[in-house]
Structures are given as structure tokens and as C-alpha cells.
């Protein structure tokens, strides 16, 4: 009896989340044994990066209502910081990952200080402008900073970016199986990110973030400091985004201004929108669906971007809460139908009065 007491305190949704994550962990462990195509495993690693970034954008936009378009800029900052620490100071990649992520946090706090006094679309426009400025400054950087052999290197790497600054060490350790090693590392990164995100969303401060999103006026009246809370969530999500950036640079052993392009940002937004804005599993569902769709559209080559744009627009119009939201609607609908059916049956089950049949 006493044993079951703490169990009952775990809510049903939490138990569902736990069950889903256990299944996912099992699937993630089984995956490298089932997939032996290098290409597919590579795409899965890439998808894990997308899912990590998308989950952090969802934390910002879906749970806290901050419409930031600087997500890829923060990601790139983390990646560039890691790459530059390795490139200029010869650090080991593993040593540079956390400093890179902390650099991304500092960057995001600077962006947040400038932008978070505003709300809504003003934040979106300013963060977009900042991301574009970063892109332009990197691409147009032509001044020599150091000479590598007879080749001139710009401080920011210019349009080329950085390459060959080290890797995660899996090649030396696992040789031919290095990709599986990288897959394991990135999968752990994703899992850790999700666990932290879950803890944040369910914590009191997570409630404050959500309150600010749902009804800012009321939240502020109840004593939530909007600017501080939003700056905090901006910094938290920047840490994981920047960390993912560092791992991205290390996994591909390269980082360039391409990650800052509009289409990358749109892909992240599309993932969250299709999966379900403000739902915990939405980014993961969206990643699976969109990466699959992207692979299918690869056949039709040039129509990929066109299709992606239409998918974004259509899913906003047709399913404002994304696939997860639609799935929830379906579950509700089925439950209501079943309730109705049992309700319509004769009264042989009158011992258990179902609590207020929803169909009434």
C-alpha cells in the first residue's frame, strides 16, 4: 500500500511520456544493429541534430512564446566558437564543446538584452535581422587574419568556413565503425537535451514561461518578471543549441556560413510547426516526418524547396497544433466515441458511474 503512494503522484501524462521515452531509447539502441547503410545512418545523425535544434526552438516559441528567428545564428555561434577554439588554439574538440556552448549563451544573452524588451513580431524581425547581419559579415569577410601556408585565412573563415580542426576521436577509436560512435554520441546529446527540456517545462520556472506565453498581462500581474524569465529561457535554450552546434561542427569536421541560410532556419520552423508547436514530442515527430518527406522529395530534386514551403503553409492552415495536436484530437474523439457507446448501452454497468460523460 505504502509503495503505491508515490506512484500515484506521477500523473498519467508523465507515465505516457516515460513509456514513450523508454520505447525510443530501446529503438535508438537497436537502430545501429538494424541499419547498415552508411548513408541512412548519416542522415539519422543529421536528423538528430535537427530534432535537438527544433526542440530548443520549441522551448522558446512553443512553451515560452518568444518568436526568435536567431535560432540558427545561436547554433552557428556555438559551432563557430568550438571550431575557432580548436583551429586557433589547437584545443581538443571535447574541451572546446562546453566553452563553445557558453559562448553561444553569452551571444544569446546579448541578443536577448537587445530584443526581449519587445514582444511578438518585433522580436522575430530583430532576431532575423541579427542573424542576417551575422551571415553577411561572415560571408563578406575578406581581410587576412592568419596565413596558413600560402593561403590567406579570414578570422571568421569567410565564405568557406572552417574545416579540419579535429573530430570527436571516434575515427581513431572505432576505425570503420566511427559513424556508429558518432551516432551514439549525438543520440546521447539529444536524449540529455530532451531530459533537461522536460525538467524545465515541468518545473515552476517552466510554468512561469508558459504563463507568460498564454497570458502575459496576468502573469506579470502575478509577479512574474517577463524580461528576466524570457532572458533566462533564451539563455537555457542557447546552451543546448550552442552545444549542438559544437557537436555539429565536430561531427562534420567543418562549419560554414551555410548553416545560417534562410532555408535551414525554415526547415527547423517547419519541423516544429508540422510536429506541433508547444508539444513536448512535436519536434521529434516533425523531424521524422520532414526528414522522410525531404528524402522522398530528393527524387524530384528541384522541387524540394517548393514542396517544403507548401508543407509549412498548409500545415499551419490545416493543423494549427501540428501532428501531435491532431493525434491528441483523434485520441479524444475515440475516447468520446467509446464513452458514448458505453453510455448508450443498457445499465448493466451502473456500479461504475463514468464521471460526467463528455458527450452530454
Amino acid at each position: 500500500m505504502t509503495d503505491t503512494k508515490p506512484m500515484s503522484r506521477i500523473s498519467r501524462s508523465a507515465r505516457t511520456d516515460l513509456a514513450i521515452s523508454l520505447v525510443l531509447v530501446a529503438a535508438a539502441i537497436a537502430l545501429p544493429f538494424m541499419v547498415d547503410s552508411r548513408y541512412i545512418l548519416g542522415q539519422i545523425v543529421l536528423a538528430l541534430f535537427y530534432a535537438t535544434i527544433a526542440s530548443q526552438w520549441n522551448l522558446l516559441f512553443g512553451f515560452s512564446g518568444i518568436f526568435s528567428l536567431a535560432q540558427m545564428a545561436i547554433f552557428a555561434f556555438g559551432g563557430y566558437a568550438t571550431a575557432m577554439l580548436c583551429f586557433y588554439f589547437g584545443w581538443n574538440v571535447w574541451a572546446a564543446l562546453v566553452p563553445g556552448a557558453l559562448g553561444a549563451v553569452l551571444f544569446s544573452l546579448a541578443v536577448g538584452l537587445a530584443c526581449l524588451r519587445l514582444t511578438g513580431v518585433y522580436v522575430a524581425l530583430l532576431t532575423l535581422a541579427i542573424a542576417q547581419t551575422m551571415y553577411l559579415l561572415i560571408v563578406t569577410d575578406t581581410e587576412c587574419f592568419v596565413m596558413v601556408g600560402s593561403v590567406c585565412r579570414q578570422f571568421t573563415g569567410g565564405a568557406v568556413g572552417f574545416a579540419r580542426f579535429g573530430d570527436l576521436g571516434t575515427r581513431a577509436l572505432l576505425r570503420a565503425q566511427w559513424l556508429v560512435g558518432n551516432y551514439a554520441i549525438i543520440a546521447v546529446l539529444f536524449a540529455v537535451t530532451m531530459v533537461f527540456t522536460y525538467a524545465i517545462v515541468k518545473s515552476p520556472i517552466g510554468l512561469a514561461f508558459r504563463a507568460l506565453k498564454d497570458n502575459p498581462g496576468y502573469a506579470v500581474a502575478r509577479g512574474v518578471n517577463r524580461f528576466q524569465a524570457q532572458l533566462l529561457v533564451f539563455g537555457i535554450s542557447a546552451f543546448f543549441t550552442g552545444l549542438a552546434g559544437g557537436f555539429y561542427a565536430a561531427h562534420f569536421q567543418a562549419i560554414g556560413p551555410g548553416v545560417l541560410s534562410m532555408s535551414q532556419l525554415m526547415f527547423i520552423i517547419a519541423i516544429v510547426v508540422v510536429g506541433g508547436v508547444g508539444t513536448f514530442w512535436g519536434p521529434l515527430v516533425g523531424t521524422v516526418v520532414l526528414v522522410l518527406a525531404d528524402e522522398l522529395m530528393r527524387e524530384s530534386g528541384e522541387f524540394r524547396t517548393l514542396g517544403l514551403g507548401l508543407i509549412i503553409a498548409l500545415s499551419v492552415v490545416l493543423m494549427p497544433k501540428g501532428l501531435v495536436g491532431r493525434f491528441g484530437d483523434l485520441v479524444h474523439w475515440l475516447a468520446r466515441r467509446r464513452a458514448k457507446l458505453t453510455d448508450a448501452k443498457p445499465i448493466d454497468s451502473n456500479i461504475v458511474q463514468s464521471p460526467a460523460p463528455a458527450g452530454k
Partner: protein, 295 residues
């Protein structure tokens, strides 16, 4: 010295006029319906390409090319209304702002990519251009810049007359001031939305022709002026038309001075810096209504 100063001023006023036209189109939509149209850039590009097709491929006169660009922009605006905006308005009002922005981002990408697939990525020459310069005492002014400034001034006058003197304009202004009150007074708000989107599309079409006549036609043509128009809107306070024009001219002049002094590279970053400084000082923009965004 005077020559350099003149060159900077001419460049600044020309780009300022173009930015003003783009900014007004955006600001009009924001002001009356609380919608940020991220597909505006693609509509700009569409206008430029339609004019190119009409004039170069079909061999029709330039005036018809202009008309085609206006028409294409207006039709794009109407399609945007029927396909996206009308459906999103049915949903929860509080999510409209973000949802419509994301949806128009999608439409914008799709449209830009459709143009890329149709015309190819190589830059094309916009036929709407006048060669030669115009001498006024010690000054030389390219006809092209004068044409752009003239067209923009004409468009501004047309827009302000349409908003100030017509029934449609009165309905638009009423909706912008208070949507619910306007609806209760018998304004067909949905029709106003359609009209505003078509008007802004038409402005985008002309703006696209003008922008491409300064440079060249290419699918990402609209993105750069649009990004600047966005931050000019933010500086002016979204939805404020005269403020948007003033901000566009002021910032464009500032940009061309910076570009001359520090190099083209620093034009946009310094613009952004000014914008952030302004917003820290006045969070709802220079001329924005103070209540709208302050928490």
C-alpha cells in the same frame, strides 16, 4: 567633394524611395490586420519577373509591363487572402499573429522557388530602364534614379489619396483603428482585408520592377530590400505609414553615408545597430503608438 556628396545623396534618396515603397506595403498590412507578410519579398520578385516577361518575351510596351506587375502583385495578394489568411482568421485570434507569419514564410519560399524553377537562377536584365544622365548646373543625375523617385512619389500620392479620400480608404482606416468597432458599424472587415492585401501586393509589384531596374532580376531579388523594410517598419513603429516613409528615407541616407565611409559591408550592420539603439530608447518605435507593445 560636392560630387561625392551628391552621389551619396542621390544613391541614398533612390534607395530610400524604394525602401519606402516596400515599407509602406508591409506597414499597410500590419496596421490594418495585424499581419506580418513574410511573402512580401517574393511578391516583389514576382512583379519584377512579370514585367520582364511582358516586355521582353511578349514584346509589349513598358506601360503594359508596369500594369502586368501591378496586376500580378494584386492577384498574388488575393490568392494569399483566400488560401491562407481567411482560414487562419477562423482560428483563435491570439495565435493569428505568429501563425500567419509562419504560413507566409512558407508561401514566400514556395513562390521564390517557383520563380527560380521557371526562369532559372541566372540574372536577367530588367528592360524598364533609361540610360543617360541629366545635367543640372554642376550636378549629374542619372535618369534612372529620377524615374524611380518620380514613380515612388506618384505611388505615395496615389496611396495617400486612396486611403484619405475614398470609401475604401475610410474602411481600411476604420479597421486599422478598431477592428471590432468598424465591424459593428457595418464595415465588411473581410473585404477590407482582401483589399489591403491586393493593394499591398500591387505596391510590391511596382517596387519589384523598380528594384530590379537598379540591379538585375534574380529570384532572391526581394529579400534584401525586404529585410531593410522590416527593420525600417520596426523603427517607425509597425503600422505607421508616414513614419515608415520618414524612417525609410532617413535610414537609407544613413546607410549610403556609412557605405561610403566604411565600405559597403558595414551598411546593414550599422543600420541594425541604430535600430537596436532606437528600440532600447523607445520600444514601440519612433512614431509607434506607445500602448501596443509595451508590457
Amino acid at each position: 567633394m560636392v560630387d561625392v556628396l551628391m552621389a551619396i545623396l542621390v544613391a541614398g534618396f533612390t534607395s530610400g524611395a524604394l525602401y519606402a515603397l516596400a515599407t509602406v506595403g508591409l506597414s499597410l498590412v500590419w496596421g490594418s490586420m495585424g499581419m506580418l507578410n513574410m511573402a512580401h519579398a517574393a511578391m516583389l520578385t514576382l512583379g519584377g519577373y512579370v514585367a520582364f516577361t511582358v516586355i521582353t518575351s511578349l514584346g509589349l510596351p513598358i506601360a503594359i509591363g508596369f500594369a502586368g506587375a501591378i496586376l500580378a502583385g494584386a492577384v498574388a495578394g488575393a490568392i494569399l487572402y483566400f488560401a491562407i489568411v481567411r482560414n487562419l482568421l477562423k482560428n483563435d485570434k491570439s495565435t493569428f499573429e505568429a501563425n500567419v507569419m509562419i504560413a507566409t514564410v512558407g508561401i514566400g519560399i514556395a513562390l521564390e522557388n517557383a520563380i527560380l524553377l521557371t526562369y532559372g537562377g541566372q540574372p536577367l536584365k530588367q528592360p524598364v530602364s533609361i540610360a543617360g544622365t541629366f545635367r543640372l548646373g554642376p550636378l549629374t543625375l542619372p535618369w534612372q534614379n529620377l524615374l524611380i523617385i518620380a514613380v515612388v512619389v506618384v505611388m505615395m500620392v496615389v496611396v495617400s489619396l486612396a486611403l484619405g479620400r475614398t470609401r475604401m480608404g475610410r474602411a481600411i482606416r476604420a479597421t486599422a483603428q478598431n477592428r471590432d468597432a468598424a465591424q459593428l458599424m457595418g464595415v465588411a472587415v473581410n473585404r477590407v482585408y482582401l483589399q489591403v492585401l491586393m493593394l499591398s501586393g500591387a505596391l510590391a509589384g511596382i517596387c519589384g520592377v523598380m528594384v530590379s531596374s537598379m540591379t538585375q532580376l534574380s529570384p532572391p531579388l526581394g529579400n534584401d530590400p525586404m529585410l531593410k523594410a522590416f527593420i525600417m517598419c520596426v523603427v517607425a513603429g509597425l503600422g505607421n505609414l508616414p513614419g515608415a516613409v520618414a524612417a525609410a528615407l532617413g535610414l537609407a541616407l544613413f546607410e549610403s553615408f556609412v557605405q561610403y565611409a566604411l565600405g559597403a559591408r558595414w551598411g546593414f550592420p550599422s543600420l541594425l545597430f541604430v535600430v537596436i539603439a532606437v528600440l532600447i530608447w523607445r520600444p514601440s518605435g519612433l512614431f509607434g503608438r506607445a500602448e501596443i507593445r509595451r508590457m
